[in-house]
């Protein structure tokens, strides 16, 4: 064994490493980014959950209740309140995912308060996101506790301890869960499906594309009469087909593992395919725009991890977007993953049908269109 030979190999590797800024940057940026993104993406205080309030009572008592909700909006900002006139409208929006819970004050609320006859408030919640549910349910419990403190004639001004004694005229919070209990694996599944599409886009649209370019294979195509729009559309659609194949496979296998109910429901499968197809086009065109001027095969490999962290974690795949700080939320707004995950969750956890996914599909389609146009504009057909 000769140390000189060992040192020669060390020297060679160090020289190569120091001359590849992309690799160096990613080796430093990646862990830092993961620290920051993951650090803020998980376990943040949840804010701004939209809930519907249906007040059929419309008395001084129900107004008091609504004012207390308003105080939560103004203070910790856990929820945003939307007033609905009818419970059926509110339920439609709850099922489609526009609101996450309904506070229903029935018409006999004030009468029962006056009679001391267990006034009831219904709390109907979309329980597909356990993080969101526990947060808003906790707020509601506090709120009811406060009301009961004010209403209880026997213990004026005194805080009650949980559990509340169910004595007249204490307000009873009746909880209705809209869906069966969602295990975390079901919650994660949507993110994993989106991730499979992303990986296909990364390999097909990033790594293979740049490898073919650097191997000179593109030159063989560029001498033919193909236009750059034709070339890019061809590459994007082939990537989208591959993404759709991967996404469908993971939906079925992951769905079986996570135990999604009625997985073979044909209408839902059809909607899932639409979401996967749109997601694939969006992801591959996003990747294509990033890679359109790259020629170093190291670049897509080096930024793979960075992109993955930057797109997957802010999407709401592992923790609700409502728990993010503002800067992370703004990433989630422009992240195609967010809309893919939202639509997949709507279908897999709530089976909303088209009403729960159309906005995501519109956004992903518009996103793709802009990216494809930009890719065509930036693509250099010449060498």
């Amino acid at each position: 064994m000769k140390f000189q030979r060992i040192f020669a190999i060390i020297e060679r590797d160090m020289r190569k490493f120091l001359r590849s800024p992309a690799l160096m940057m990613s080796s430093m940026i990646f862990p830092l980014m993961q620290l920051i993104v993951l650090g803020y993406a998980f376990g943040g205080k949840i804010k701004g959950i939209k809930i519907a309030v249906v007040d059929e009572d419309r008395t001084v008592y129900s107004r008091d209740l609504r004012e207390r909700l308003g105080a939560i909006v103004a203070g910790p900002d856990t929820m945003r309140v939307e007033n609905y006139n009818s419970i059926s409208d509110a339920i439609v929006d709850l099922r489609s995912g526009f609101v996450r819970a309904i506070v229903y004050i029935p018409v006999d609320y004030s009468r029962r308060v006056d009679q001391g006859n267990r006034p009831r408030i219904a709390f109907i919640e979309d329980n597909t996101d356990n993080f969101v549910t526990s947060e808003i349910f906790g707020r509601m419990q506090d709120l009811v506790k406060d009301i009961n403190q004010g209403l209880n004639p026997f213990q004026p001004g005194q805080r009650l301890t949980v559990p509340l004694p169910r004595l007249n005229p204490l307000v009873d919070l009746q909880v209705v869960e809209l869906y069966p209990y969602i295990e975390y694996i079901k919650y994660l599944l949507s993110g994993s499906i989106a991730m499979s599409v992303f990986i296909v886009a990364m390999i097909g649209g990033g790594i293979t594309f740049i490898d073919d370019k650097s191997r000179g294979l593109h030159e063989g195509y560029l001498v033919t009469p193909i236009t750059k729009t034709e070339l890019i559309l061809g590459l994007i659609f082939s990537g989208a087909i591959k993404g759709l194949m991967a996404g469908t496979t993971i939906t079925v296998i992951g769905g079986l593992i996570a135990g999604i109910d009625h997985l073979w429901d044909p209408a839902r499968l059809a909607y899932l395919m639409i979401v996967l197809a749109t997601t694939s086009v969006a992801m591959i065109s996003f990747m294509f725009l990033l890679m359109v001027r790259v020629s170093d095969p190291l670049v897509p490999r080096a930024i793979f991890g960075v992109l993955n962290t930057l797109l997957y974690f802010p999407s709401g795949a592992i923790y609700p977007v409502e728990g993010f700080p503002a800067w992370l939320r703004s990433i989630s707004y422009i992240d195609p993953f967010t809309y893919a995950v939202h639509a997949l969750k709507a279908l897999l956890l709530k089976n909303t049908g088209f009403s729960g996914i159309y906005s995501d599909i519109l956004i992903l389609s518009g996103f793709s269109l802009v990216l494809v146009c930009l890719s065509v504009a930036f693509f250099k057909r010449q060498i």
């Binding site: 000179g216 063989g220 195509y221 001498v223 033919t224 009469p225 010449q382």
Partner: protein, 332 residues
């Protein structure tokens, strides 16, 4: 398919500049219809840049190039339909079979299914790849890939073929096979062929006319024979004799056209303006003086001499120009 003057390619003051570096300096030449035209020059001379401008892959900085009757800038698509291009890098897809490679290219040129079914087997046959048609190109040797790419470049029946260093990196057998194919193409299909090379023998053997390119300039253009004639260099007659008299070298020196005689290990190197004349006189002289001629050979002017004459350098890589010729000290 021809330019207004009946030529296949007309290049006028074509220039390409990358930043401060001028890769091609206002080059002008014409390629006649039906000829094999060679661009000969060392690596880095500007051959590939020149070919890329003519094949619409690189836009010229200034100047004009008309290929197959179309301007490379104003009507790039017309040019692309008229030409077949075999770039220097191997550009066939290794993950596809030979037939799939052909078929995809044919579709890019808009060939119908019927045309493809008829043409592709024919072309694969003509490059000797019929039995490998359904094998993955990744398993092919460099020579087989090159032949496939030549067939692929012909799939839309172009009138003009561009081959950028078609035999670089190939073994001698594959090189010969590619040369035969190129010659056959010219004869059977009446194609105009423009190729670049840094091999003298390739240029000499294949090309009807050769342009010598050096440092982005076109320094000479003519047929190989005329280029050789234009060089005022001497033929070398190499001869070995038995029983040569003492004054034999001085006697040889007096023969017609002989400029010098050098002797090295019994072999005499005679520089002369005409090899054949010197050989005839030498044979007569030897017979008269009773000297036995054991061996005689004449080495004529080669393109190496031509290149040396026009560029002042041997044909070699730019990078090796400054390297000392004498490397014996390296082996100490």
């Amino acid at each position: 398919m021809n330019t207004s003057n009946g030529n296949a390619i007309e290049v006028t003051k074509l220039k390409k500049q990358f930043g401060d570096f001028v890769a091609v300096k206002e080059v002008s030449f014409t390629v006649r219809t039906g000829e094999i035209f060679g661009l000969l020059g060392p690596n880095g001379a500007g051959k590939t840049t020149l070919i890329r401008m003519m094949t619409t892959l690189t836009p010229p900085t200034s100047g004009l190039a008309e290929v197959g009757g179309y301007d490379v800038v104003a009507n790039a698509n017309g040019v692309r339909h008229a030409i077949g291009v075999i770039p220097q890098a191997l550009t066939s897809d290794p993950e596809l079979t030979a037939r799939e490679n052909m078929s995809i290219h044919a579709k890019l040129y808009g060939l119908t299914a019927a045309q493809r079914e008829q043409l592709i087997p024919q072309l694969l046959e003509s490059v000797g790849l019929t039995e490998f048609a359904d094998k993955l190109v990744g398993s092919f040797s460099g020579g087989m890939r090159r032949r496939l790419e030549i067939a692929r470049g012909l799939v839309h029946s172009p009138k003009i073929m561009f081959l950028d260093e078609p035999t670089t990196g190939l073994d001698p057998v594959s090189r010969t096979a590619v040369w035969e194919m190129i010659t056959k193409l010219k004869e059977s299909a009446g194609l105009t062929i423009l190729l670049t090379t840094h091999y003298m023998d390739e240029a000499d053997k294949l090309c009807d006319r050769i342009a010598i390119v050096d440092h982005g300039n076109l320094v000479a253009l003519d047929t190989p024979a005329k280029l050789k004639d234009s060089v005022p260099s001497a033929d070398i007659v190499e001869a070995e004799f038995d029983h040569a008299p003492a004054d034999w070298n001085a006697t040889l020196q007096k023969l017609t056209g002989v400029s010098s005689v050098a002797e090295h290990e019994g072999i005499r190197h005679i520089s002369t303006t005409s090899g054949p004349v010197t050989v005839r006189e030498l044979m007569d002289l030897a017979r008269d003086r009773g000297v036995n001629v054991r061996r005689v050979s004449v080495q004529g002017t080669t393109l190496d001499d031509v290149f040396l004459f026009y560029t002042g350098r041997q044909l070699r890589d730019e990078a090796s120009e400054s390297v000392k010729r004498d490397v014996s000290h390296l082996y100490k």
